[in-house]
Subunit: 310 residues, 2 copies
């Protein structure tokens, strides 16, 4: 039951040989979701050994080049490799037009479904039996969305030995998984906590880039296990951050604190910083569990059971 | 008086973390010409420390993605860095439309001049006082051109000590540089070879990718100092090469031999080859002075004087 994030790119507008442009891969239960797709994403996917074939959904935050120029190569290579599976791409703006102006649609070996985002507030844009992805508008120079990935709430897990012991049928098991007690043929009440253990907690990951600080973001990412929040600048460049629609170390830490997140990843560092230590130290001073991301980093969220209610 | 080629990418359609897609930089007298611009070219330029500002001319062979997808990032980054100098881009097809469908023309900080190629035979497409670039159609699945870079023919170099010795004026010097003898006031004939040394040889580089073998290419690249010729496949895959419009090891060596080139670079290797040894060995068996290129390789053509005519 994997839930991990691989960093493919951690630079801002200008990529370097050590920091490619923005792209993360979120692996939830071996479904791979690509979030942003900067130039060279296909190269990083190969380098970090992530199977092209497992990616069926791509989420683009906005149409600045450092967040989507890798799509041309990704789509072309998927096609050259003979892909047949549908590919779903979510983004604001007319991404479809840009893609098909560069790549001949007829030469693509698979179907692409473009899902154009244009909404206010939080909206669920993808869901499967066990996963839900929602999008929320950010405040950048152009239309931009944050994405929130979470496991759906799970049922309790039955203690297997109790099935033969109490002769539990399928209907009994379904009820017990929902937290109900069980009454034996003899009329004896068996408490649910003796028959099942609490479910695993729903894990979650939020990706917020690019944005300047604004009220409302805190609610969207509240209590998330891992928050990725851009921190393009150190706090002394607050003015430039404001003008360019970006955040500072301090802004990222403030969101993490107010939203009570468990872990904060910062990235999208301006290439003006030879070392990102200053941004890291400033953020960590305000929010202890901070990580400054590098290309190739992997962050996992471990499985953890909920507590039985007292 | 530099003349060297830096390999930025050596893979074919599918880039890997070790081999990026096609791109070479040709440095002639500190003018930098970019030939092809596969995805990640800007990253490789940074990695191999080639100044963005020195590139004013880009030559695209054809509009398959692995030869031009890097242009979006290159143009965006040039602009983000505040470039003011004109950029000239040469290519077949409607490249301008593709670029401006993805990047808002109004947001580019400099002028781009698109030079659309559409001709038969060899044509000079760029020239300066000392450099000439010509283009020649190849045989690929879509319209594709080879590029030939050469120094223009140079004049003889005056032997400086002879200027005061014979009291040479500017007009005399210009005549001597053209190979003329000199007659002193006293009527004595001084042979040109006593007054000047032969010029440096004109150096040249040809870039041929992608193409299947055809008559005519040999003439275009005749006597070139360095020929880059694609060798996507080993010779046992001649059939696939033919179908896909590519060349084998043998094809590349044949052109090098027939055209009497001095050095052959092969690249654009199919990712089916874990090692390119087989392609290298097959080519070298037919043409000794062969090099299988890797990203980051630099090939220089040394200055060498012509011989005095006997």
């Amino acid at each position: 039951m994997s839930f991990n994030i691989t960093i493919l790119g951690s630079s801002s507008a200008l990529p370097t040989s050590k920091r490619f442009s923005s792209a993360h891969v979120v692996n939830i239960h071996e479904r791979f979701f690509l979030v942003d797709c900067g130039e060279g994403t296909q190269i990083q996917l190969r380098k970090f050994k992530i199977s092209f074939a497992k990616i069926n959904h791509i989420f683009i935050t906005h149409l600045h080049g450092d967040h989507f120029f890798g799509l041309f190569g990704v789509i072309s290579s998927f096609s050259l490799l003979g892909r047949k599976n549908d590919l779903h791409i979510y983004s604001p703006g007319n991404l479809q037009n840009k893609i098909y102006s560069v790549i001949n649609k007829k030469e693509i070996s698979f179907n692409i479904f473009f899902h154009r985002l244009s909404h206010e507030g939080k909206e669920v844009i993808y869901e499967s039996k066990s996963i839900e992805v929602s999008a929320f508008p950010l405040k950048h120079r152009i239309e931009t969305y944050a994405y929130f990935f979470k496991e759906k709430h799970k049922e309790r897990n039955i203690i297997k030995e109790q099935i033969p012991k109490y002769g539990l049928g399928i209907k009994d098991i379904l009820r017990i998984k929902q937290g109900k007690d069980f009454i034996t043929k003899e009329g004896k009440l068996i408490k649910n906590t003796d028959l099942s253990v609490p479910p695993f907690k729903s894990r979650s990951y939020a990706y917020c880039s690019d944005t300047k600080p604004f009220n409302g973001l805190v609610n969207f990412v509240e209590n998330v296990d891992i928050l990725y929040h851009e921190a393009t600048f150190a706090k002394d460049l607050k003015d430039i951050a404001e003008i360019t629609g970006h955040s500072t170390s301090e802004d990222a830490a403030n969101v993490a604190n107010k939203a009570n997140v468990k872990k904060l990843l910062i990235g999208h560092f301006s290439t003006r910083y030879k070392s990102t230590n200053i941004i890291y130290e400033e953020t960590k001073a305000l929010f202890e569990n901070t990580f400054a991301i590098n290309d190739g980093d992997v962050f996992s969220i471990p499985l953890e059971r909920e507590q039985n209610k007292q």
